[in-house]
């Protein structure tokens, strides 16, 4: 590989790493949102049948 | 009971258990010797191994076998439900830490009494290590390893994956100790005397001191959760 290709590879790695982390965080965020929805529906049920 | 008396009480109790059952000592010595044999075979038949590589082999054997003893010292208390009893008793957690660390230190020293001669028999044809330098070196590593190991064994014992977790936690922390030990031992195998390896011994002593203090302070927090 030519020298400059390594430079490109390094920057690609940095961006891929950061993007990968953001994707992982957003995945966990969706899990939180899902569990929140489940909780909200359970609260509604409890209100209907005291 | 003052601190010193507490420590001696706990230390003697654990030592009595060890001497009676000898399970840890035998396991450590046996496993260490086994590792050395495996490494001897793995090194191939080429014969000539450098002093520093020999040092590496010795330390792999000692450190890997020591984790066996380390893990048991605390896990045994937990298995027998003794941890709560120890905490409720008037014995201070700091005394518990010091006593356990001393037990680990003693176990390591005893296993090395077996392992070092075995090592010299297997590998040490051309080696003439200075006994004083080697003893001080081993003592310092034992100190650091047992101090850090005792603290971390409290953490590992609190999880369900005790045996697996202790090496994962302990070895990264002790990597600097390994680096220094291998370099110093390599020098000793090459014939250096004590004053020549002081450069490596000082950081090792610092490591031991840092983790003795840290363990003394942090152990109480960790053990209360076990």
């Amino acid at each position: 590989m030519a020298h400059t290709n390594y430079l490109v590879l390094a920057y690609m790695t940095i961006w891929a790493g950061l993007a990968g982390y953001l994707i992982w965080i957003s995945g966990r965020q969706r899990q939180i949102a899902k569990r929140l929805e489940e909780l909200a529906s359970r609260v509604k049920q409890q209100e209907v049948q005291p | 009971m003052n601190l010193g008396q507490q420590i001696m009480l706990l230390y003697r109790k654990d030592l009595r258990v060890e001497v009676r059952k000898k399970e840890s000592l035998i396991a450590m010595a046996f496993f260490g010797a086994l590792i050395m044999v495996i490494l001897n075979l793995a090194a191939g038949r080429s014969g000539r191994i450098e002093a520093e590589q020999l040092a590496g082999i010795l330390w792999v054997a000692i450190l890997f076998s020591s984790v066996l003893g380390l893990g048991r010292v605390f896990a045994r208390e937990k298995e027998n439900g003794c941890v709560a009893a120890l905490l409720v008793s008037p014995l201070s957690p700091e005394a518990l830490f010091t006593a356990k660390a001393l037990v680990n230190f003693t176990l390591m020293c005893c296993s090395e009494l077996v392992l070092v001669p075995v090592f010299l028999a297997l590998f040490g044809g051309r080696l003439e290590p200075d006994p004083l330098a080697l003893t001080v070196l081993l003592g310092l590593v034992n100190l650091g390893f047992s101090a850090a190991g005792t603290l971390l064994s409290a953490l590992a014992a609190g999880t369900r994956r005790n045996e697996v977790l202790l090496p994962i936690l302990l070895y990264p922390l002790c990597l600097p100790l390994v680096i220094l030990a291998v370099k110093a031992t390599g020098a000793v195998f090459g014939g250096s005397a004590l004053f020549e390896i002081l450069d490596q011994l000082e950081p090792m002593a610092a490591f031991g001191l840092i983790y003795a203090v840290a363990g003394y302070l942090l152990f109480a927090h960790a053990v209360r959760e076990v």
Partner: protein
């Protein structure tokens, strides 16, 4: 706009492109290494941010043990995780930089060695966190491990330097004399990485807080 968006994320929006521009348009070309040397600016920036992260994790551990407030465990968890991410990137970029220069994918350069050991220590922290289910126990254990891990750093650095002296074939990366323009670019990159770190840290803290609140709600409802 400041209320809706995290200020550090906004800052990062400007700081990161600015730093990149400085690296490519302002910093002079290095003689011996050429273009590849430009990896160095962000590599060092990432290392600075990673180090800060582990320092924060240690401090958060101390505060948690002393005060036992959940917020400190949240910060500790975020700091360890982001720190491991940045350290991974430091190792990868360092390795990629080393390949064309020294013709090897790995070198026991003291900075890389220190980063590698730190990576192992704090990844072990993450594994420890994953192995404990109860929140309070996990927080205490994580705090103890983060503190134990960080106090190792001085010895790690000393021993890494000692190790390097055995391998004189490794070209010292600190041997580059830094011109003022390079220094300014380096400062800009370190600042940009620190801002990025702060943005990610706050994001992760917020997420941890949400998860904890959710757990509280679940417990309350199941009663």
């Amino acid at each position: 706009m400041l209320k809706r968006y995290d200020p550090f994320a906004l800052l990062a929006l400007f700081a990161l492109p600015a730093a990149a521009a400085m690296v490519f348009f302002y910093a002079p070309l290095e003689e011996t290494m050429g273009l590849v040397q430009k990896i160095f600016y962000f590599h060092l920036g990432l290392a600075a941010a990673a180090f800060l992260s582990f320092f924060v994790a240690c401090i958060a551990g101390v505060f948690y043990l002393v005060r036992r407030q959940r917020v400190w465990d949240e910060r500790g968890a975020a700091a360890i995780e982001v720190g491991v991410l940045f350290t991974t990137l430091v190792l990868l970029t360092g390795s990629i930089w080393g390949r064309p220069i020294w013709n090897t994918w790995w070198t026991w350069d003291p900075r890389l060695t220190t980063s590698l050991i730190l990576w192992f220590i704090f990844t072990a922290c993450l594994i420890l966190r994953g192995a404990v289910e109860q929140e309070a126990k996990r927080a205490v254990f994580s705090a103890v491990m983060a503190i134990a891990g960080f106090i190792d750093v001085p010895v790690v650095f000393l021993s890494a330097r000692l190790w390097r002296s055995i391998h004189p074939t490794v070209i010292r990366s600190e041997g580059i004399a830094l011109e003022p323009a390079m220094l300014a670019t380096l400062a800009a990159c370190v600042a940009a990485m620190l801002i990025l770190w702060a943005a990610l840290f706050r994001l992760r803290c917020g997420m941890q807080r949400q998860e904890n609140t959710l757990l509280d709600l679940q417990q309350q409802l199941s009663r």
